[in-house]
């Protein structure tokens, strides 16, 4: 909520807030961001709610213009999680919002149906790839394994990938896009999660399982044809997961790949960011990888994106802050309230999920579940 989103920079533990302000040289990207402007409602005519993925179009193709912002919805009009079927296209130039795609909720080739997640990307070849983590009652009690869906640039479904390695593709993708080939990294958060009423007697929370993976998918994209899935490799596994009535599930969510081939992963339940080395080339799983940073400002870290200064921006699930992390040192530089909606407690709790940098690197887009809106954070 704009006005309440006071632009306070939240100092990491051990840093004095005053010291932050006194510094002349910027420590990071977030301190250059001062305005948060609501751009559009992401709820299309069918009433879908709960915007998840945020993807900036790399090219113009079909119904999409370059730099358009694509956002999908996880919930249907009844606000049941795992039932959203729409992808909305916001054009920053015209400010117009259009429906890019609406996929049938029941889809034989996608086990359990369709509930679109934060796992979405658009390739330079124009294909849009999006994950499904479906449910029929809004909880993991009726969860299906889901699938990965491939759409053409006009929003038409052209391929569906499912199988034993694909179980509820969940968090934002990391992508290497070479045009005729591409590599996708997707977190698979669904393996073995029961319904939210299956409680751990020790914690009284839904039981935690540790079967989630990060999957690498190698694609070839023949000219004018849909991407073909050539191979899959599990590069990380053993991530914590559990059901949650309010948040559907917790699991590995945010992915970001650096130029050296290290893949950073957010794990909300353990409140940690880890690093999987050699993610592009490795042939075995690195387990959950090496811990980069944990706790402090992180509060159920979700989607992740690169800031232009080489830092990571991470959305918190448990409050409305985005946190800036230097992956080289593991230092959490600061956080910023990008959603301080006090209708939730703590403010912004459960509101954030996907985020994406704008093409000029000066601002970033994010979604707010409280109002089902797309927002831009800018100088």
């Amino acid at each position: 909520m704009q006005m309440t989103r006071n632009l306070a920079i939240v100092a990491a533990a051990g840093l004095l807030g005053l010291a932050c302000q006194a510094r002349a040289t910027p420590q990071g990207f977030l301190e250059t961001v001062h305005r948060h402007v609501t751009l559009a409602s992401m709820s299309p005519d069918n009433g879908d709610l709960n915007p998840y993925a945020v993807v900036v179009a790399p090219v113009s193709a079909g119904k999409i213009q370059k730099d358009d912002v694509l956002v999908d919805n996880f919930n249907n009009i009844s606000n049941l999680q795992g039932t959203g079927t729409t992808i909305v296209d916001f054009n920053p130039t015209t400010k117009q919002t259009t429906l890019f795609a609406q996929i049938p909720q029941k889809l034989a080739q996608c086990p359990g149906g369709v509930g679109l997640t934060t796992a979405m990307t658009m390739l330079k070849s124009g294909w849009v790839i999006v994950g499904s983590t479906p449910s029929t009652d809004g909880t993991t009690a009726t969860k299906g394994d889901g699938c990965v869906l491939v759409l053409d640039p006009n929003g038409k479904l052209v391929a569906t990938w499912s199988g034993p390695t694909i179980n509820d593709p969940w968090g934002n993708m990391a992508v290497i896009d070479n045009g005729s080939t591409a590599t996708l990294f997707i977190s698979m958060a669904g393996f073995g999660i029961p319904g939210p009423d299956v409680l751990d007697p020790a914690t009284h929370y839904p039981v935690t399982v540790r079967k989630a993976t990060v999957l690498r998918l190698e694609l070839s994209i023949p000219d004018g044809q849909p991407p073909k899935l050539l191979s899959q490799t599990i590069v990380g596994d053993g991530f914590a997961q559990r059901a949650d009535r309010d948040n559907f599930l917790f699991g590995p969510t945010g992915l970001a790949l650096d130029e050296a081939g290290t893949l950073y992963v957010t794990d909300g339940l353990d409140n940690v960011i880890t690093a999987i080395p050699d993610a592009i080339s490795r042939t075995t799983s690195a387990g959950t990888g090496k811990v980069v940073t944990h706790d402090e400002l992180l509060a159920w870290p979700l989607a992740m994106a690169w800031a232009p200064d080489g830092h990571l921006l991470v959305c918190n699930g448990k409050n409305g802050q985005v946190v800036e992390v230097d992956p080289a040192t593991g230092k959490q530089i600061y956080g910023q309230w990008i959603d301080s909606d006090q209708a939730q407690s703590p403010p912004g709790n459960g509101d954030l999920f996907g985020l994406a940098m704008s093409p000029d690197g000066a601002s970033f887009y994010y979604v707010e579940d409280d109002m089902n809106t797309l927002v831009k954070a800018a100088k």
């Binding site: 909520m1 006005m3 309010d246 006090q342 409280d370 109002m371």
Partner: protein, 420 residues
């Protein structure tokens, strides 16, 4: 079902004793009165416009929507004739009278006996279903449906319950006494038993504020500060009354949007005062917009802080509803709070509280010359971005064309039913 000849005959005989006809009965209003029942302030029923629209707001209201089961246009016309006559009597503080027959139901249920007119107004409206229902033109009126009487679009966040939505006819009775308002609708519903069935109803109230003071709704904020001034006849012609561009039978009438809006009071009451004020864009105590001192100080939508963020929050209620943000669009709001006791509720917004909660809120009512440039224009945007949407849910309602007023001897909507 009764035939139309029964309605004008038997029904009239049942409560309009000795009148030569409805028109005659109305003109000779005293025949409808119980001697001595006329006391307290009464508003004129007859006039160019229906009362209850630009009339100063009374403290209570009872809103009812009906489904028509009448088979013929004449039956509906006869009902409106009866309703008009009865409304004229009721608003004058008179009881309905019939044959003195102890073996027949009384013409008046009696609970308003001894009560003053209490500024009772009764405002009739016609829903889209009068003109076309399920694709059928039941009464040969489809061609007379005004373009402005649209089917309201679905708005973002709508959770409309069928049992509280729509209706072919509407009645809003407003009075300074809840019993007088309810009594009025009760009599009209009984008169209409054979032709119109109650679909949904909502009683409402506003506090007893001094004249000229803006009432507060259940959110604790003043509601109606930016309402257009009803004594400005020119402005009312611009904003409220249907004009020459509308169907001939609607000129001088107005379009009524009525929407029961549930307010999550338990959630709202847990919010900090400062956050409530940010949602509204006004101070709770004074009603002044941010950056201003007094309630009626003009709002400054362009004021910004040092970072360029608007002083009156981007998604605040006052900003999104301001005419300046809606191409000048205005409506005349005439809403009432409601309290239906408790109900089981699953809230729509985080933290998704579930349980027994107050079933309370606002029966939002507004009037305008054209809903397409009034309510729809304004609410389209508000339904998406208003921060208050986290606490309020539209759960029903409808759009009704309220015809102009009637002169003695005529009835509300007569020009429609007599049109060819």
């Amino acid at each position: 079902m009764r035939k139309s000849e029964d309605i004008t005959g038997a029904s009239r005989r049942s409560f309009l004793t000795g009148a030569a006809g409805i028109a005659g009965a109305v003109a000779a209003a005293p025949t409808l009165a119980q001697a001595g029942s006329f006391k307290g302030e009464a508003y004129a029923f007859w006039g160019a416009h229906q009362a209850g629209i630009v009339t100063p707001q009374q403290s209570h209201s009872y809103f009812a929507a009906f489904d028509l089961v009448a088979e013929k246009r004449e039956d509906v016309a006869a009902l409106m004739r009866l309703w008009t006559a009865a409304a004229a009597a009721l608003t004058a503080g008179q009881a309905l009278t019939g044959a003195a027959d102890d073996d027949a139901p009384a013409a008046d249920s009696g609970e308003a006996a001894g009560l003053s007119p209490s500024r009772l107004t009764i405002t009739f409206g016609f829903g889209p279903g009068l003109f076309t229902k399920d694709g059928k033109d039941r009464y040969g009126l489809a061609g007379l449906r005004p373009a402005a009487l649209i089917d309201l679009p679905r708005f973002n966040g709508d959770q409309l319950v069928a049992e509280r939505t729509g209706g072919d006819l509407s009645i809003q009775a407003c009075a300074d006494d809840a019993q007088v308002a309810f009594h009025a609708v009760r009599q009209l519903a009984r008169i209409g038993y054979d032709q119109a069935r109650l679909r949904w109803a909502q009683p409402g109230f506003i506090g007893g504020y001094a004249p000229g003071k803006t009432p507060r709704n259940l959110m604790g904020f003043k509601d109606g500060t930016m309402n257009p001034v009803v004594t400005d006849a020119k402005l009312m012609n611009q904003v409220v009354w249907a004009g020459a561009d509308d169907a001939a039978w609607m000129r001088g009438g107005s379009y009524q949007v009525a929407r029961p809006i549930r307010i999550a009071l338990e959630h709202w009451d847990r919010m900090k005062l400062s956050f409530q004020e940010q949602c509204m864009g006004r101070r709770k105590d004074s009603g002044a917009a941010f950056g201003k001192i007094a309630e009626l100080d003009p709002i400054d939508l362009d004021a910004v802080d040092k970072d360029g963020n608007p002083l009156i929050p981007e998604n605040s209620h006052v900003r999104l509803g301001a005419p300046a943000k809606n191409d000048g669009a205005q409506v005349l709001r005439r809403s009432y709070s409601y309290d239906n006791g408790l109900g089981f509720v699953a809230e729509r917004w985080p933290p998704w509280r579930q349980g027994m909660e107050f079933d309370a809120g606002l029966l939002f009512v507004c009037y305008q010359r054209d809903p397409r440039t009034g309510f729809v224009k304004i609410f389209e945007n508000m339904s998406k971005f208003d921060m208050m949407n986290q606490f309020v849910t539209h759960i029903g309602g409808g759009l009704f064309a309220c015809p102009p007023g009637a002169a003695p001897g005529h009835f509300i909507g007569e020009a429609l039913f007599s049109a060819t």
